[in-house]
Amino acid sequence: MKVETGTVHALVGENGAGKSTVMKILYGMQRPDGGEILVNGQAVNFKNPNDAIDASIGMVHQHFMLADNFTVLENIILGAEPKHGITIDFAAARKKVAEMSAAYGLDVDPDVLVEELGVGQRQRVEILKVLYRGARILIFDEPTAVLVPQEVDDLFNALKGLRAEGMAIIFISHKLDEVLRVADDVTVVRAGSTVAQVKSKDVTARELAELMVGSELPQPTTHGDTRRPEVTLSLKDVSVPTKSGSRDLISHISFDLQAGEVIGIAGVEGNGQAELVEAIMGLREYTGQIEFKGKNIDNYSVAHRHDAGIGLIPEDRQRQALMMNSPLWENRILGHQRSKPVMRGFILDKKATIADTRVIMDEFDVRAPGPHTLATALSGGNQQKFIVGREMSKAPALLVASHPTRGVDEKGMAIVLISADLEELIGMSDRLLVMLRGAITAELNPQKTTPEQLGSAMTGAQ
């Protein structure tokens, strides 16, 4: 893979194809087994991210690494403060940041606390932070995942500005339309190897997708209407107050979900979606009523809700769904430790669990040597597939899925789908609910909604 100065180079591939690994190697977080990296013609050998930063490589992480209670300026200079004797030279820092903001069109007020910023602005702070450290090669890891369409436009304009300034930009993504919009060159990886390097003006999204998957794509399955009349999940006036009681994290949420129906929850991250999931799972105390299959489950424990047939694919899989340093077969048990096949009464059935883990790995194409592999050794995409497989194995009547991307195959179950991928939401949902500041602000028909309209609704513009 070769990235030229003054270009935007996209790295695309399926989950688990090796995108993250390439990125980790480039940023010194992982050592390559072989091969070499050249920066401006010089061979480099990164032992850690500091080496990469010294070689003027910077990374804009998917999840922002910012201190909320610091100002924008403080965040930018954190770890690279200009000194004035023993004090920090804020004047010099401010001047430099102002220059950079102007030069690259990354407009943001340096004296505002980061906690007051929206997602798009936070991302700008991240970019400035990287530039401030003198980066000339910028790696963006799935930068649009957390943005609404308008913010994506702003980001892409900023990228064009950076490109004009002679920066090299590596753009990691699996959203092909975005890749084609912003990139000059595209490298496609599949199963750990480069399969193609093309100019973006020479390919279509469909051709790229075929390169990624490695074969003719199946026709996109039109999501047939599998709704049945019985109501699987019913929320009545559900609210989650903050501890201080000042404001509701989610307020007065009501909706009915029929069996076989997919309800999509759209919203900019942090507008109450996580709290809604936690209320449904019983992980958070709430007011109002939740009914599951016609029964009130307000007094059910988390375990009871799992066992009654609610499956969960949580948002942050490593934190909420996996024991990273345990083998896959032990992870298979998590959330299912009260029933067959992993338990015989109170005794753990190790043999059956290992066998069942193999089945899941086959069925959901989890690429790993075997059930004894530690979860941490798997790529994010494979961890994801494993969790989806684990939850599907109990054939839940209701699945609550946050950002599942693919792999969830609706077999007549009810799904609450939370996603930042607006096309996924529109494509999979029977009904769309928009959440803003903890409340449902709109209900849309996905067949008559464009991503742009949905994006506007998410920001409250309509």
Partner: protein, 367 residues
């Protein structure tokens, strides 16, 4: 299926070997610092320590270490740290020795009553820390340390003011001697039948069998039951455990109370097998040494048994160092360096294994 390769076997033994080498080097420097030959020191220790009489004593010393280490491991496995084992075992030992001497029951039942009292007292004392943690968010590390100070003061006070009697013809304070029904028979007659000869200076505590049973139960419950899985899940990833339906508060409470109850038993081997009363000479520091035993044993039933025996062996055999004018306390340095180097060696190997697995995975994906 892949067969176990030589590299895998090497990996498994690499950590203990590396740790042993490093700790021998460090200990040798300690001996050299007192201007003596390390070889002589090791030879003397080995010769003394491997005598039959010494080995039997090693078992007696290791027994309370092992029980206390299991108590600590229960909390380690749950991602908690009960430093309060010392206090729990002292209170448990004092109360059970004092109360059990006040009544008579048939032999086996009486011993069970002794166990029950010690476990209840240890468990209740730990429950204070558990309550504070669950209801008030107080770190169990801090609260158990403070409860240790309280327990040590409280046992001294209760013992000297209320529970102790002065033995005639000596100035040793003890609680009333336990009736025969509450004593645990020595294993020596049993060992005689197996061909072990009597040794001057004593037998082997019957509590050894209790410790072994406890170790097996610990292994089974932690590795093979739902409760054990939920305990380990809480330790491995408390958030994921909660999301999966584990009641985290209940788990914290149970882990600490069970730990305290087991700790209560750890104060009993000397009392039931030797002194038959709580005495002024009650062995201090078992609850602290057991932390090192648990760490060295990596919280596993077998590992802790080996490390308890190793610590016992060092303690007994180091007495012989006096014979060649080396401070016997050198064994503390040995224990410390073994612990430190093994913790580091295991961590290094663990990381190396993960790297290796990632590579294996890359190959599997590419294939």
């Amino acid at each position: 299926m892949k067969k176990p390769s030589t590299s895998k076997v090497l990996l498994a033994v690499a950590a203990p070997i590396a740790a042993a080498v490093v700790s021998i080097v460090v200990s040798s420097f300690a001996v050299l610092a007192s201007k003596k030959s390390p070889m002589d020191a090791y030879k003397t220790m080995w010769e003394f320590g491997t005598q039959a009489g010494s080995l039997l004593e090693v078992l007696n010393i290791a027994t309370p270490y092992y029980i206390a280490a299991i108590a600590i491991a229960v909390t380690f496995r749950a991602g908690l740290f009960n430093i309060g084992v010392e206090g729990q075992l002292r209170l448990g030992a004092l109360f059970s020795a004092y109360l059990s001497a006040k009544f008579v029951l048939p032999p086996v039942l009486h011993v069970l009553a002794v166990f029950l009292i010690a476990m209840t007292v240890g468990g209740l004392w730990a429950a204070i820390a558990a309550y504070l943690k669950v209801k008030r968010g107080v770190s169990e590390v801090i609260s158990t340390i403070m409860l240790n100070s309280l327990a040590v003061g409280l046992t001294s006070f209760l013992f000297s003011q209320y529970f102790a009697e002065i033995t005639e013809g000596s100035n040793n304070l003890t609680t009333k001697t336990l009736p025969a029904s509450a004593q645990v028979p020595d294993l020596m007659p049993l060992l005689n039948k197996l061909g072990v000869e009597d040794q001057p200076g004593g037998g082997v505590y019957g509590m050894l069998l209790v410790a072994i049973a406890l170790g097996i139960a610990f292994w089974f419950i932690v590795n093979r039951t739902r409760f054990g899985f939920e305990l380990r899940a809480s330790g491995a990833n408390p958030i994921a455990a909660r999301v999966s339906g584990v009641n985290s508060k209940k788990m914290i409470f149970l882990a600490l109370v069970i730990s305290g109850a087991i700790a209560g038993l750890a104060g009993l081997p000397d009392i039931l097998g030797d002194t038959h009363s709580y005495t002024m000479g009650f062995r201090p520091g078992v609850g602290f040494t057991a932390i090192a035993v648990a760490l060295l044993g990596r919280n596993g039933a077998l590992g802790m048994a080996i490390s308890a025996l190793l610590f016992g062996f060092l303690e007994v055999s180091s007495r012989s160092l006096e014979l060649i004018d080396i401070a016997p306390e050198t064994y503390v340095i040995m224990q410390g360096s073994i612990l430190l180097s093994s913790v580091i060696a295991y961590e290094v190997i663990r990381r190396y294994k993960i790297t290796l697995q990632s590579k294996e995975l890359a190959k599997a994906v590419a294939a």
